[in-house]
Amino acid sequence: MVLIKIDAIGLACPLPVIQTKKALKNIEINGSVETIVDNESSMENLLKMAKEMALESNYKKIEEHRYKVTITKGEGSISANSNDNKSNKKMVIAISSDKMGEGIDELGDVLMKGFIYTLTEMDTTPTTVLLYNGGAKLTVENSPLLEDFKTLEGMGVEILTCGTCLNYYNLGDKLAVGEVSNMYTIMERLQGANKLIRP
């Protein structure tokens, strides 16, 4: 039984939810996430999220402005990796290059910048954005798209960058948004996608 504790005191909405969701993703089966928040609406949002993910939850008021929310993932929880309850509508965007399409690089560059920017403006967001090979260059320090990826992450999008690729390009310690991923996770996300987009 794994227990992950999160101190979300002082964090503005929706950060407590994002962090808790992230922690829950790291639990395979049988584990709980305990999140301490300092306001009632954050607490309610956490409970709502647990309900959407069909997970058991309970809360306790520890003292004034201190609430403890415990969300438990038992055996057989299925919505583990889904971003929300739309588990039958998983949209995955797989980016395999830092350019969009084939042709002249200068144009491909501009198109990719436009693609990610536009993604932040859509009201339908993907569940996951996968970045591999040249795509891994987009989520590291000094990438012109960093802000946009951070915006997406704030919207609850899972940003996964291929670790092998970061290593190959010598960017191992430069990842600045989302998480490092491996081929198993990449495969899982691709296979689990109901809609796959490759710009």
Partner: protein
């Protein structure tokens, strides 16, 4: 708790002009970025420059000096996903 942003936008007659403008203005470190033309604006090549209002005058000066043709100048106010477009062509 909707995010409110305000920025200037210049649209271009050609993609090449847009890319050239981005380069010119990046060279002098202005706060700009190239973005697709928002749906609210119809004409032009599909690329535009998003400019921090603080850098707008300087940007225009440089573009005019380099004889860049643009097709429109706008002020955009974004509230959440909603955009308000003000045409400031003179």
């Amino acid at each position: 708790m909707k995010k409110i942003e305000e920025f200037n936008l210049i649209s271009f007659e050609s993609t090449h002009m847009a890319i050239k403008s981005e380069k010119l203005l990046k060279e002098v470190d202005l706060d700009i970025r190239i973005i697709p033309v928002p749906r609210e604006i119809t004409s032009s090549c599909g690329l535009s420059l998003r400019i921090n209002p603080l850098d707008y005058n300087e940007a225009i000066k440089i573009l005019v000096k380099n004889m860049i043709k643009f097709s429109g100048c706008y002020l955009i106010k974004k509230t959440g996903f909603k955009k308000e477009v003000l045409d400031i062509n003179t």
